[in-house]
Amino acid sequence: MSLLSVRDLSVSFRGPGGWVPVTDRVSFDVEAGTTVGLVGESGSGKTVTALSAMGLTRAQGARVTGQVLFDGEDLATLSQRELSTRRGATISMIFQQAIRTLDPAFTVGEQIAESVRRHERVSRKEAWRRAVEMLDRVHIPRAAERAAEYPHTFSGGMCQRAMIAMALACSPKLVFADEPTTALDVTVQARILDLLREIQRDTGIAVVFISHDLGVIAELAQHVVVMYAGQVVERAGVEELFLRPRHPYTAGLLNAIPAVGRGRRLISIPGNVPAPGAMPPGCRFHPRCPHGVTGRCDTGPVDLVEDVRCVRSGEVPLLGIPTPAGARS
């Protein structure tokens, strides 16, 4: 059995004219100790899916249906009080804007220790010791001193390291990493990715890595879930997905990865992700799809069949690329 099994997770938010569906029957599995990449443009529902799996959108008043089978129980049926004992303890989350996700009014150490004390019966002193240990673990220099400082004295990369330390302080089994490197410099980005890889190697934690960048996903993930406009459009192993994409949207994302010295022209996908509540009929991607056919793609809703959501699957030749990791070795 998978560690995490998201089944038909649909999320709606209350809008001015009633409920607006944001994600539609999202399903994917995460095996213990592995990394799954959740990829798609902004607005495709990746973050909402992760937040909803942890019950965090329900806390904001969203309507959530479906199952989130995690570690032997369905998180979707738990109350907020019950969920609060799981969050941070067995399932955790790293956010995109680390600087804004640390409370400016408390020291970094206090915030990590707070998480430890919430889930484990330890003394204040022991919790503080653990906080310093975690900061050291994520390679923050002079961890004992820095723990007593406030987030505004930390750089962006340091904040993200502190955030990672906070999320992992209680050794969860799975962590959602929501674009943890997007807001950072490229060099800092690479170091944070190294850190995540190192932690995963040492602890065997499962990671759901959310990104709009397939290049980053290729460096970390074994499996990839591609989302578009609130739906899963393709699921595959990372090599398979890169070499033989089966959905035109996946192919589009692959061709948008910048590659140095490979002489490949960068092709962006024209248009934008449709807004929730304004979905086109039929395949949600067809207005932007180079292979769209009137009468077939724009009629009924398209189901996910054999891990791909495309009526012309197998009909059109789609160009893959070698995974960046494979190209390097």
Binding site: L56, R87, S92, D103, P104, Q111, Y150
Partner: protein
Amino acid sequence: MLKLVGRPLLALVPTLLVVTFTVFLLVEIAPGDAGYALAGENPSPEVVEAIRQELRLDEPLLQRYFEWLGNAVQGDLGQSYLSNQPVSELLLQRLPVTLSLGVLSLLLAVLAGFALGILAAFRPGRLVDRIVTAVSSVMLAIPSFWLALVLVLIFAVSYAVFPTLGYAELSEGAGQWLYHLALPALALAMNPAATIALQLKSALIAEEGSDYLMAARAKGLTAASLMFKHALKNAAVPVVAVLGFRIAALLGGTVIIETIFVLPGLGLLAQQTAMNQDVPVMLGIVTVTTLFVMAVNIVVDASYGLINPKLRGAR
């Protein structure tokens, strides 16, 4: 810390000069003078002139001002025209009453304001929030003297729960002290309580959507911990700023409230001296009040640093 306290202390000197000189000037411009005020009804011009000579009101304004200033710097605030009592003695007598009233109403305002603000912020837009917002808006619009009179009508006249006027010192027992101060403190607290409630509510709601609260929830904190520990500490910054202004306004309010309830504090004294043109006492009150407001400002500024670490400056 030195910067935080030192700068406002330097600003104190010109402020005090301007404020005291303005009082001198206003008394000069105002019709009549202490001569008339002290001479009784239908005085002969000779009597008035004699009093003026005695008080040296015939000397030029600037000369009198600098004379007063010279003495004040040495701690001598002069004597009351009316009673010949030293001004500093008079002030020390009256100050505890006003402080009692001020501290009590401030305490009431903070307690009620925070309770109402938090209550409303828990469920924004729901019934509780609407009631709190409506009540606070009404409380803001009601002047304290009107409220004082209504309170007296209800709780002192119709139901004799509290006295209509008078004061008991704390040394006569906390019960008596509170018994006499309850209505005036309530009347005075209403306005700042409403301001705090509305400010805190909107500050808390603004914090509610912030990323750090989402992250704090994601690490397993409970709703109560999110609200009372994290959101409240961040929302307190603008509220403390407002509190500083309200304390100064509160001091102004004591003049009216002390007059209504005949509480022998600085406010009542200020009202009486203004009627009698008792300039030395007036100057004493103004000096003490200015010092007090400046002190409050320093405390408020310093407390920002305690709440908001960013203002503590780089270490």
